[in-house]
């Protein structure tokens, strides 16, 4: 996946953040752009955003992480800073085949962050360590 497409994606998210902060909605042209850049997972990610499935978890140390509740009930810890998700789709489509920029969970985290629609949760530093190391997974 070319670095130019990644730059386009990053700019698109910035445009989305600015537009949503002004109008509280996503215009059709940005929706079309999201679909074009991110493919099928764009709509799936927007569904996750609508369901408020993304939680920004923070601890007293200042460390933050994003947890995304997937449709199957699995909780995925994502890094938006460097684009990582532990789900099988990310491992296969992004890392292995380089066919996609993101999976739906990671895109949902990025969209939620851009639109200010993350749920917030405070945990202890020790709990944050467990989350970052992938030891914590819960279902609804």
């Amino acid at each position: 996946m070319g670095s130019s497409l990644l730059s386009v994606a990053e700019q698109l998210l910035k445009d989305l953040q600015r537009t949503y902060s002004e109008t509280n909605q996503i215009p059709d042209d940005l929706l079309i752009a999201l679909r074009f850049v991110f493919g099928q997972c764009a709509l799936q990610a927007l569904d996750l955003v609508d369901q408020r499935s993304v939680t920004c978890v923070s601890s007293p140390s200042g460390r933050k992480a994003f947890q995304v509740l997937g449709g199957s009930g699995h909780l995925y810890m994502c890094f938006t800073s460097c684009h990582y998700c532990p789900c099988p789709a990310f491992s296969f489509s992004v890392l292995r085949r380089n066919e996609s920029l993101m999976c739906k969970h990671l895109l949902a985290a990025c969209l939620s962050q851009a639109m200010g629609l993350c749920q917030q949760e405070q945990v202890s530093d020790q709990q944050m360590t467990h989350i970052l190391s992938g030891q914590t997974e819960a279902s609804t």
Binding site: G62, F79, Y84, F90, T129, H130, S133
Partner: protein, 260 residues
């Protein structure tokens, strides 16, 4: 050239030990060292003590096996600042990940995180990685990147806007005798490492990949880029001027300018 390794090479140039080292202003952040496990380990350790002594950095050095002996070059440092180098012996990938994940809890964060032999951790995961499952290596690489970015923010807040947390990782790309039919191809693992160690963040995170090749007792470090599954020379420079001599009878490394 990765900044800390450049300092190491200049300090231990053959026949001299110079204390006059200059920290380059355009310091690169992350370094991936490929090649022989023993040479990489020695160079990483010299980088650790150099960073602690010359640059005043706090260093965390993750490795699987305790050092049975130290490079003789380090005797120069033995009286100075080794308390800033913390050796952390972890056996498994899970333990390594948990230790890195816990770095945000430290009151005094490190400025240099070194992981020696990441390939061996990946082959010794308690949960055997499935074929084609790149999640374990992606997790540890992304965690290193995100942790370094977080610690850099902490260091910058404390140091009047300056301060950077760097990552150095050694990886033996050819694991003769240790691979089995279910192990992932090294090229795939390197692609994933390249993805996360080269991610830019505010223009301060760049990576440097050093690969060594040898002829008899002479080894040469080459600064390369890993792109599209193969190595490419960086900026058209085919060889760095440094040669590493591994003295097989004494555990010491000497660096010498090529063709001198």
């Amino acid at each position: 050239m990765a900044d800390i390794l450049g300092v190491v090479f200049r300090r231990f140039a053959s026949g001299t030990v110079t204390s006059d080292v200059i920290f380059p202003p355009d310091a690169e952040a992350n370094t991936l060292v490929l090649g022989d496990v023993n040479i990489s380990r020695s160079v990483l350790f010299l980088a650790a003590v150099t960073a602690a002594t010359d640059l005043g950095l706090k260093v965390l050095f993750f490795t699987q096996t305790p050092f049975q002996s130290l490079p003789s070059n380090t005797f120069f440092f033995m009286h100075v600042h080794l308390q800033n180098v913390k050796l952390v012996y972890v056996k498994t990938l899970e333990e390594l990940v948990e230790d890195i994940a816990s770095l945000h809890e430290l009151a005094s964060p490190p400025s240099l995180i070194i992981v020696d032999g990441l390939d061996h951790y990946l082959h010794r995961s308690r949960v055997r990685p499935l074929q084609d499952d790149l999640s374990p290596v992606a997790h540890v690489a992304a965690l290193l990147h995100d942790t370094a970015a977080f610690l850099s923010q902490i260091l910058q807040n404390r140091a009047d806007g300056q301060g950077l947390c760097r990552v150095m990782v050694s990886f033996q790309s050819e694991c003769e005798g240790s691979r089995d039919s279910e192990a992932l191809a090294p090229e795939l693992l390197l692609c994933v490492l390249d993805r996360y160690l080269q991610v830019s963040g505010g223009g301060i995170c760049q990576s440097c990949v050093l690969r060594w090749y040898s002829s008899g007792t002479w080894c040469c470090w080459q600064e390369v880029l890993w792109s599209s599954g193969s190595f490419h020379t960086k900026n058209g420079i085919t060889n760095l001027p440094w040669l590493v001599v591994h003295k097989f009878n004494t555990f010491g490394l000497t660096f010498r300018i090529k063709n001198t």
